[in-house]
């Protein structure tokens, strides 16, 4: 049963193109393949523009807006429903963020990470830490 519909207010992740990796809200529907999408720009940095649905990964979250809502209305609706906060709390969002952090690591960061992981496994092996992950 489909639950993630393309509708005004649907939060989506852009997966391709210049805005890849950013969140946006569907604001209006053009035809079977295209939608109008807006960040809003002040929230996610995505300008209002038309985009093929193919480039979007729909999420479970919507905000209550009328179709074609403008920036201010959009922004207020997002704040009211706490959509962005709900999104950041999901496992999906955390994975996206973790991937981003990993890609930005410098060589020195990678070294520090390696040292930290070694320390962690040494502690685990000693039995000092309870295994929180399988």
């Amino acid at each position: 049963m489909y639950t993630r519909f393309v509708e005004p207010g649907r939060l989506a992740l852009i997966t391709y193109g210049p805005c890849a990796g950013k969140m946006c809200t569907v604001v209006d529907i053009v035809d079977q393949k295209r939608v109008v999408v807006d960040g809003p720009e002040s929230v996610t940095g995505v300008r209002r523009h038309m985009m093929p649905v193919k480039r979007l990964s729909l999420t479970d979250f919507t905000s209550k807006i009328a179709r074609g809502a403008r920036e201010k209305t959009l922004r207020l609706a997002l704040e009211k429903d706490g959509v962005m906060a709900k999104w950041s709390a999901t496992a999906w969002a955390k994975k996206v963020k973790a991937k981003e952090v990993r890609s930005k690591m410098t060589d020195f960061d990678r070294f520090k990470l390696m040292v930290a992981r070694k320390k962690r496994t040494a502690e685990i092996k000693k039995g000092g830490m309870k295994k929180t992950r399988k």
Binding site: S103, K104, T106, D107, F108, F111, V115
Partner: protein, 178 residues
Amino acid sequence: MGKAGQARQVFRSYGKNSKVKKVSGTEKAKPNISKLKKGLVPGSVLILLAGRFRGRRAVFLKQLESGLLLVTGPYAVNGVPLRRVNQRMCIATSAKVDLKAAKYDVTDAYFKRDAAKKSKKDEMFTSGKDKSEMSAEKKSGQKKMDEEVVKGMAPDMKGYLKARFSLSAKMYPHELKF
């Protein structure tokens, strides 16, 4: 006019033509030393990619007149001595070490080999080459020059310089950020 086969248009001039200007000895252009890579600053950590110390991380000190980069371990930290390295043979990382105005008065002449004048015949028959060791003064000089830098270095930076760099599974250099 069409040309047959691989013939190329040849512009020949016989005798002294006023068009061709001869460059006098004094006017010869000095070759420019290679430009430093973006983000390479004295104190940057480099990953050496070739030579005896490949895979080691060393600190970049300055660019010499020959265009090569002067680099040091520092020796006390990871055993890489004062060395010259070609820019192309190293990766510049974004990590930086504070050089604390340590003076490295080293030029290309420091690295010149002493030409041992032996006749060819003798060389062939002498048993074993005598390894050229660094003079004691060079060793102590290096130690002195590195002292300031090593003293002020954070322990995780020391560990970083001691560690070797290598690629493992799923590490694609063109996707890595250094």
